[in-house]
C-alpha cells in the first residue's frame, strides 16, 4: 500500500508541477509583454527530449544521471503531501534534506564525469550556492524544531491547523521571509540562477547533456521543485487539504516567478554575500526569539 501511495505521489508531482511550469512560463511571458508558450509546452519538451538519441560520456556520467533522478523521486515519496504520508513516521525533515542531497550529488558527479570544464564550473557554483542558502534556512527550521521538540514534518503541519492565524507565516514572519528567499535560491530562480547561467557558462552542469539524459535532468528538476516548494508550503503555510495544498503551492511558485521575471543575475560571490548578510541575520533573530522567548511557539494568541 505504501508503495502504491508513493507511486501516486510521483505521478501527481509530475502532472501538477509540469503543468504549473507551463503556467509559470506563461506568467513570465506576460510580465515581459509576450504571448508565451502553450500551457502544455513543458510536457512537449520533456517527451521530445526522451524521443531523441543520446550519447554517453562514460559510466559515471550515466550512473550519476540515474542517481539524481532516482534520488529526487525517492524524496518525493517521503514528503507529506496534504497529510498523505507514504511511509508513516519517516516524513522527517532530516530524511528529506539528506535524500535531496543525493540528487544534487548525483548531478555533480554526472556533470563532472562529462569532462567539460563549464560543467565543473557550474557544479562548483551550485555547491557554493547551496552553502549559501542552506545555512539561513537550516537555522530557521532548527529553531522551529527546537521549539516543538519534533522534526517530523507532519507534526509541524499539525501544529498549524485551525485557520491561517496559526500558520508559521504569521507566527514566525522573519523565518518565513528567510524561508522564501532560500526557496528562491533552491529553485535557482532569477537572481540566484548563477549555476545554470546560459550566457556565461553555457548552462553550467547541463552543458554536455542531450537527448534522453537531458530529459532525465529536466524531470529531476521538476521533482526537485515539487519538493522544495512543498517543503515551504508544509513548514510555513500549514499544508492543508489537497485542493488547499495545490493552491498554496501554485501561489508560492507563481509569486517566486513574478519576482524572478524582473530581476537580473547575481555573480556567485554576490549570492553568498547576499545570503550571509540579511537572511542570516534575520534567521538568527528568529531563532533567538523562538528559543529564548517562545513567541510563536508557546506564546501565541
Amino acid at each position: 500500500m505504501s508503495y502504491l501511495i508513493g507511486l501516486m505521489l510521483i505521478v501527481i508531482a509530475f502532472l501538477w508541477q509540469v503543468t504549473l511550469e507551463g503556467f509559470q512560463r506563461k506568467v513570465t511571458a506576460k510580465v515581459q509583454r509576450r504571448v508565451g508558450p502553450r500551457w502544455y509546452q513543458t510536457f512537449m519538451d520533456i517527451f521530445k527530449a526522451f524521443s531523441k538519441s543520446s550519447i554517453s560520456h562514460g559510466f559515471i556520467y550515466d550512473f550519476g544521471a540515474m542517481m539524481t533522478l532516482g534520488g529526487t523521486m525517492a524524496t518525493v515519496v517521503f514528503l507529506p503531501f496534504s497529510g498523505i504520508v507514504a511511509f508513516n513516521g519517516l516524513d522527517n525533515f532530516f530524511v528529506i534534506i539528506y535524500l535531496l542531497a543525493v540528487g544534487s550529488l548525483g548531478m555533480a558527479m554526472s556533470a563532472v564525469g562529462s569532462g567539460n570544464p563549464w560543467a565543473s564550473i557550474g557544479v562548483m557554483r551550485a555547491l557554493t550556492q547551496m552553502v549559501g542558502y542552506e545555512v539561513p534556512f537550516m537555522i530557521v527550521v532548527f529553531g522551529m524544531i527546537f521549539g516543538y521538540g519534533t522534526s517530523s514534518i507532519s507534526a509541524l503541519v499539525e501544529v498549524q491547523a485551525g485557520g491561517f492565524l496559526n500558520w508559521h507565516l504569521l507566527r514566525m514572519p522573519l523565518g518565513a521571509i528567510v524561508g522564501f528567499i532560500s526557496l528562491m535560491g533552491m529553485l535557482a530562480k532569477k537572481p540566484y540562477d548563477t549555476p545554470i547561467a546560459p550566457a556565461e557558462i553555457a548552462s553550467g552542469p547541463l552543458v554536455e547533456y542531450g537527448g534522453k539524459h537531458l530529459g532525465m535532468l529536466m524531470l529531476q528538476h521538476e521533482f526537485a521543485v515539487f519538493i522544495e516548494v512543498g517543503l515551504f508550503v508544509n513548514l510555513f503555510l500549514g499544508g492543508g487539504g489537497i485542493v488547499a495544498y495545490l493552491i498554496k503551492y501554485a501561489a508560492v511558485y507563481l509569486f517566486a516567478t513574478i519576482i524572478s521575471a524582473v530581476l537580473g543575475r547575481f555573480k556567485i560571490e554576490q549570492v553568498v554575500y547576499h545570503f550571509y548578510k540579511v537572511p542570516l541575520a534575520l534567521s538568527l533573530i528568529q531563532a533567538a526569539v523562538v528559543i529564548f522567548t517562545g513567541l510563536g511557539v508557546e506564546i501565541w494568541l
Partner: protein, 196 residues
C-alpha cells in the same frame, strides 16, 4: 578554394527516408514538431534578426521554440548567413555534436548560393554541399516574419516526417558530404584532449 564544378553531384533523395510509418514514429514526430530548441550560429549578418524574433516583439516561444546554450541540447542549427571556410569547420564540429534527430536551417541567400559573396575567395557558396539543409529562408536578410514563417514550415515538415536531413547525412556521409568537406577544408583533424 574549390569551385562549384569540382563537387560530385549525386542524387541525395534516393530511397525513402520518410520515417512516419508506425504509430510511435508519428507520436514522436508530434513531440519533435511542437518543441524545437535552436542553436544559432551567428556568423553572418542574419544574427541581428534573431533577437527581435526571440524577444517580446515577435516572441518565438509562443510556437514552442527557445534558444539553447550548447549543441548537445539543441535540435535545430541556424546558419545565419555567409560562412567563411574557417567557420565552416566549426559548424561541422557543432553539427556533429548535436543529438539526432537534428535539423539545419539556412538563412539568407548566402547559404543558398553565395549571395553577394558568390565570388569571394574566403566563403563557401552552397551550404548544402557540406551539411544537409532542411529548410532555406530566402532573403537578404529575411525579416523576423519570414523567419517565424520558416519555422512554422519546418515544424510542419517535421510532423509529416519530411525533415530527414540527418538521415541523408548518415546515408551519404561517405560518398558525398565527407569528400566535399575535405575538398574545401583540407584535412579534417579532430583534437580530443579528454579521451586521449
Amino acid at each position: 578554394m574549390a569551385m562549384n564544378n569540382d563537387f560530385n553531384e549525386i542524387n541525395l533523395n534516393d530511397g525513402d527516408l520518410n520515417d512516419t510509418i508506425t504509430f510511435w514514429d508519428k507520436l514522436k514526430n508530434v513531440f519533435r514538431g511542437n518543441s524545437l530548441w535552436m542553436l544559432h550560429y551567428c556568423t553572418g549578418c542574419g544574427a541581428v534578426e534573431l533577437p527581435p524574433t526571440m524577444t517580446s516583439r515577435f516572441d518565438m516561444e509562443r510556437i514552442g521554440m527557445g534558444p539553447m546554450a550548447t549543441p548537445r541540447q539543441a535540435d535545430v542549427l541556424l546558419i545565419t548567413g555567409y560562412l567563411s571556410v574557417k567557420t565552416l569547420r566549426r559548424v561541422i564540429y557543432t553539427y556533429e555534436q548535436m543529438m539526432e534527430p537534428k535539423y539545419v536551417v539556412g538563412f539568407g541567400s548566402c547559404t543558398l548560393n553565395g549571395g553577394i559573396y558568390y565570388d569571394s575567395y574566403a566563403t563557401i557558396n552552397k551550404l548544402d554541399y557540406y551539411l544537409p539543409v532542411d529548410l532555406y529562408i530566402a532573403g537578404c536578410m529575411p525579416r523576423p516574419e519570414a523567419v517565424m514563417n520558416g519555422f512554422k514550415k519546418l515544424m510542419d515538415m517535421i510532423k509529416k516526417g519530411e525533415a530527414t536531413g540527418w538521415k541523408k547525412y548518415q546515408r551519404h556521409y561517405e560518398d558525398y558530404y565527407s569528400p566535399n568537406q575535405i575538398r574545401s577544408l583540407g584535412e579534417v583533424y579532430v583534437k580530443d584532449e579528454f579521451h586521449e
